[in-house]
Subunit: 134 residues, 2 copies
Amino acid sequence: MNGLHLIGDWYGCRCGQEWLKEEGRLRDLCVRACKEAGLTVLGDYFFQFLYDDGTPAGVTGAVVLAESHLAIHTWPEDGNVTLDVYVCNYSRDNSARAEAVYESLLHHFNPMKTQCERVQRGDLTPAVVAERVA
Amino acid sequence: MNGLHLIGDWYGCRCGQEWLKEEGRLRDLCVRACKEAGLTVLGDYFFQFLYDDGTPAGVTGAVVLAESHLAIHTWPEDGNVTLDVYVCNYSRDNSARAEAVYESLLHHFNPMKTQCERVQRGDLTPAVVAERVA
């Protein structure tokens, strides 16, 4: 379970609105980014939100990977996107592959402002591990 | 996109191995935990890993929510689990619902050691936001 989790909050994306509003388009983009980075896509679930008049609103979805997952949510009203890419290093170090997916999608969405947390998971540092009594 | 993301790494889970090894059982548990906490399940994708002899190994999956997502991965060899619960507060504050899902599954898996990061997302604190030039 050791691995890198990239947590991105992107504001004011300057890509076309279709990438934030069309479920099929966003799904294909995310799946392709994972495959191009050398990650193994097992399956996905994406959902299309609609406005009251039936026109496309935001999209939310997840790509399940052999190496863990990608999750993405869009808010087209403000051009905002949240992206998670978590890869574990079970059989090899996948950190560079996670960074490649993140950078590829960041480049595509082209936000005006970004916030990114890098969480190193599965690292049993004594200071941050809590013992639990059954 | 403002909201709470709980990132749990759990070690040495003392629940039965079936919860870490059986895709259908884990999926039902996660979906039920989300619904019981008052979150809106849109869909999911779960995958069953198998050992070379065809017996069940770990499980990986994601539940896509109207409020964002839950993602879970299991390593039955060591009894380890990673759990993500991210909820945004688009129409109401869902933080307590995220905590309820996390606590419900933590209680169920009953790990010997835990590590948890709480990330407040979508908070445009100037110090942590990077401006990007197109």
